[in-house]
């Protein structure tokens, strides 16, 4: 299958006259690897996100499977050279299936001392370290907290150091182009990129095309960046040891169209796909709150007919807007983050009571309160399940990987519409910010979503709180004659939907709303197990820990341990067979980026004494951490 034909499709027409061209490829020694983890790190102004993205694109287009994790600085603009301003972007590319952006680094590119300082601890001994030596000056070293120059004091002895005076080489490369200082600086990132592309034997085409499109109106920058890129690509051969190239073979993939997709893009595309597939208008109301804002931004960018995107006046307004839109016959959606999600508790109650289809995406971040903005955490699970006054059940899903955002958005839309209920999708910055290779579905591969608008039926009084076989009430769209009705937050009489204070009716409605959610279980897939169907240990996860768990379990399986992995994308209701699956293993390990919230749910539901592996550091699990816990549990078994 490695012989599969592969060609890169270009979606944007080439408009420019100046055609950047690739330099001829310098020769060098080549080392083969299965997979590589590289991190690009520099000052916020050094363009590391761009370098990372372009490197990823090139790797993916080259035929590797790719998993990435951007790590932009928390500050909008920290002082130049400060630790707080370090921006990172990690790429894991390989010739076989990978699940995470990688624990430890096989290579690090550090544009300045602060970047080195912040990232060196993650670099494997003996790994490749590429350094821009021109920035290792007294001021920069001081800002990074280095007492002496690590290039000289032996600190870096255990790495394969590639010391490149990038500022200087880049300046030389663009000397003939008329640039202002800031532009020259921007070109430096292309120099670094060129160097990396050469080192890992990736093609330049994708980047050249990107340059052409991006600077279409600025031929001077096309010229300059192309020169920088080529200089990096060529000069590398001339640089000091170890100028060895590393090559990672293409992966085998099913036929189809492929792209890189971030979790935020995937969610956005999934929502648009739901609108496309159903023909329903999509109304997305969002209030900026990092890291959820990315979805709002994406929706503004990917404008589509039949899709309306609005920045609400606050988080509570956002959900009310979405709910109003759902009442009006659209798919109402909002996306938020912990603080906004807490605020929306009241509005979610209204959504449950009015039984309208809407979707709330919560990109969880480290809390409580303002917490640590944008850092990944999974500590909103119990809030999603129980965070509303009264008995207020709804459907809760969680996305497992960046590309799963597409499927989960469609699944959320499907369930919301099928069951006439709000659906919560849990994510976090680790999955929305990360990206991976994704096979783009064709339009007819999109799953069916069954929309049934209520229709008046002659002679019968309309029952706005009548029920179908799924206990869903009818979706009666204002504008339809004969279906005029009133809904809202007060308890409804079964059938008529009139306000009712009747005690037994209330109990019936509480039970009906709960059963409706329970019934949704019939339309969701059972929990699948990866590994032996019974045995010593099951590792059960949910949400963004998917990759780390899958990788850890695979490693342990390779070592011959009796361990299986399973992953929950549906948290409410849980797949029907969840309890059965749990009971087939002697132990159950539940790794979570919280203090053990799914553990609580499982203990309550199945009275199984699951073991919780908790990490609450605003950071994802390392594969190694889960692997170690598995080994520990099996040792003591």
């Amino acid at each position: 299958m490695a012989t599969h034909e592969r060609r890169v499709a270009r979606e944007t027409p080439r408009k420019t006259a100046v055609r950047p061209t690739a330099a001829s490829k310098p020769a060098g020694a080549i080392e083969e690897r299965d997979a590589v983890v590289i991190r690009f790190a520099g000052d916020a102004g050094d363009g590391m996100q761009l370098v990372g993205t372009q490197f990823t694109m090139a790797s993916a287009a080259h035929g590797n499977l790719v998993c990435t994790l951007p790590d932009p600085p928390a500050e909008i603009r920290a002082p130049v050279g400060a630790l707080a301003g370090v921006s990172g972007f990690q790429v894991h590319f390989s010739s076989h299936a990978i699940h995470t952006p990688g624990d430890r680094l096989d290579a690090l590119l550090a544009m300045n001392p602060a970047a080195l300082k912040a990232n060196l601890p993650d670099l494997e001994p003996g790994a490749l370290l590429i350094v821009n030596t021109d920035t290792f000056l007294p001021d920069e070293l001081h800002a990074a907290g280095y007492a002496s120059n690590p290039l000289q004091d032996g600190l870096l002895d255990s790495y394969r150091l590639l010391a490149a005076p990038m500022d200087q080489l880049n300046r030389e490369a663009v000397a003939k182009v008329k640039l202002i200082a800031r532009e020259t600086g921007r070109c430096k990132s292309f120099f670094a990129l060129g160097l990396a592309l050469w080192l890992f034997d990736r093609p330049l085409d994708a980047t050249l095309r990107w340059i052409r499109d991006t600077y279409a109106k600025n031929p001077v920058m096309i010229e300059a960046t192309t020169r920088s890129l080529n200089a990096g690509y060529q000069r590398s051969a001339a640089l000091r040891t170890p100028a060895v190239q590393v090559r990672v073979a293409k992966a085998e993939s099913e036929p189809g169209r492929y792209r890189q997709v971030s979790g935020a893009e995937a969610l956005t595309l999934g929502l648009l796909a739901a609108a496309h597939r159903t023909g329903l208008p999509l109304v997305f109301a969002g209030f900026p709150l990092a890291p959820a804002s990315e979805i709002l931004h994406q929706l503004f960018e990917m404008k589509q007919p039949n899709v309306k995107v609005i920045q609400a006046e606050d988080d509570l307004a956002a959900l009310n807007l979405a709910l109003g839109a759902s009442f009006g016959g659209a798919l109402g959606v909002t996306a938020t983050t912990g603080p906004g999600f807490s605020l929306q508790s009241e509005a979610l109650g209204l959504a449950v009571m009015s039984e309208l289809p809407c979707v709330v995406i919560d990109v969880q971040r480290a809390g409580p309160s303002t917490g640590i903005p944008s850092k990944a955490e999974q500590a909103d699970l119990l809030l999603a399940l129980h965070g509303r006054h009264g008995e207020c059940p709804l459907i809760v899903l969680a996305m497992a990987t960046p590309s799963d955002g597409f499927a989960i958005a469609l699944e959320a839309a499907r369930l919301a519409i099928r069951c006439m209920t709000p659906v919560i999708v849990l994510a976090d910055a680790y999955v929305t910010g990360g990206a991976e290779t994704w096979r783009v579905p064709t339009l007819d591969e999109l799953p069916a979503i069954d929309v049934r608008h209520a229709k008046p039926s002659a002679g019968k009084t309309f029952q706005p709180y009548g029920r179908d076989e799924h206990l869903a009430r009818p979706w009666a769209i204002p504008g339809t004659p004969g279906l005029e009705h009133r809904t809202g937050g007060m308890e409804k009489e079964a059938g008529t939907g009139n306000v009712s204070y009747n005690p037994l009716n209330h109990e019936e409605m509480v039970q009906t709303r709960a059963r409706k959610i329970d019934l949704a279980v019939d339309t969701i897939p059972p929990l699948e197990v990866n590994g032996p169907p019974q045995g010593d240990l099951l590792v059960l996860g949910w949400g963004s820990t998917y990759g780390a768990i899958a990788a850890a379990v695979e490693r342990c399986q390779r070592k011959g341990m009796s361990v299986a992995a399973a992953h929950l994308r549906h948290l409410s209701p849980l797949p029907k067979n969840t309890g059965d699956v749990l009971k087939r293993y002697r132990k159950v390990l539940v790794p979570e980026l919280n203090a053990g919230q799914l553990s609580k749910v499982l203990r309550d539901a199945f009275l199984v004494d699951v073991v919780s592996l908790s990490k609450v550091q605003g950071r994802p699990f390392l594969v190694r951490e889960i692997e170690q816990k598995i080994e520990e549990l099996l040792r003591n078994a």
Binding site: V8, M57, S253, K308, G324, G328, A330, L350, P478, P481
Partner: protein, 336 residues
């Protein structure tokens, strides 16, 4: 909406089958019945109308109408209605709110619906008290109002809904009163005809918790002296013999009697279409006992609606890409 084929509707067609649950004597009854009359002549089919409300006695109104309705949560009706209108711009959407609902929890949403000029008809039933929650001070309570939460009389400066709506860039701002049914019809019809956000404050008597606060404006024996009816382009006159009027003294309004050197030329002319709402703002500040209070349209100007602006904005910039293209993104590749 084809209007020619519309069957003629009567106010009764707008009654739902629900028993009306306000206190006997409540001003809400009068508003409801007048509203039904207005709805009947708007030439809009019933199914195209939606009443969205917040919580409070006022908020129950949708239950008593046979249109579509949504009884939302406290203070959030303007946001919910904005979403509804986005989903379905064809609908005629009314928002019913109370002074507590609109100006305590909901002020933010109200202000934003107004500045966006969402095509909503917003009716604020102002009884200057929290009714449904059984008698607490409202943000519009007059100083001295005794309630369960102001046992010695309210001492916070009340908000003036009209001033606030004007400051929130509203394009249509009016005030009327529950029992003056003709005036109310006139104002409601104008609000319905306005394209964009129409804000109407309705003085409403709460029989139980704030009875009689608007008596000065309803008592026929005195209201000619205590009320000015605003008419666009007409002088601001009042009094039984319409011989009193408002004139400006610097920026201070003055209530004067014609004669003794004061002529019609001295009297301010109402202009609801002024480019800036300064005069409207001035009029919103007038309260008794030293001034008559204004009823009628304070401001009525045209500005593109939220929907129009959204549509325009959509046409600007790059045209939307085919969904297939979006899916494939900027860079994709085929594996054969």
């Amino acid at each position: 909406m084809a209007t020619a084929t519309l069957p003629l509707l009567t106010p009764n067609d707008f009654s739902s089958d629900r028993e009306v649950r306000w206190c006997p004597g409540c001003g809400d009854f009068s508003i409801l019945s007048q509203l039904k009359k207005v709805l009947a002549v708007l030439n809009v089919p019933r199914e195209k109308m939606v009443f969205v409300s917040g919580l409070g006695c006022a908020g129950r109104l949708p239950y008593y109408l046979s249109t579509y309705g949504f009884h939302g949560s406290y203070g959030r009706a303007p946001a919910l209605a904005t979403g509804l209108k986005l989903a379905n711009p064809d609908l005629q959407v009314w928002v019913v709110t109370g002074d507590g609902d609109a100006l305590s929890a909901g002020a933010t949403h109200l202000i934003h619906a107004l500045r966006r000029n969402v095509d909503l008809k917003i009716l604020l039933f102002n009884n200057e008290v929290f009714g449904l929650s059984k008698g607490q001070a409202s943000p519009t309570a007059r100083p001295g109002t005794r309630t369960k939460t102001s046992p010695e009389g309210s001492f916070e400066t009340p908000l003036r809904p009209i001033s606030l709506a004007l400051a929130a860039e509203a394009t249509f701002v009016a005030r009327t009163i529950d029992v003056d049914v003709n005036h109310m019809s006139e104002v409601l019809e104008k609000a319905a005809a306005h394209r964009g956000a129409a804000f109407v404050e309705i003085y409403q008597n709460c029989k139980i918790f704030n009875d009689g606060v608007f008596e000065y404006a309803t008592d026929a024996s005195i209201k000619t002296d205590t009320v000015i009816y605003l008419e666009h382009g007409r002088p601001l006159l009042f009094g039984r013999d319409r011989n009193q009027g408002l004139r400006l003294n610097g920026f201070e309004p003055e209530a004067v009697t014609l004669g003794h050197g004061i002529t019609m030329d001295d009297i301010l002319i109402h202009d609801e279409r002024a480019s800036e709402p300064t005069l409207a703002f001035l009029l919103s500040r007038l309260i008794g006992p030293h001034f008559p209070e204004c009823l009628g349209v304070f401001r009525s100007v045209q500005r593109p609606t939220h929907q129009q602006l959204l549509d325009e904005s959509f046409l600007q910039g790059d045209p939307p890409r085919l969904f297939e293209k979006l899916l494939a993104g900027d860079e994709s590749w085929l594996v054969a």
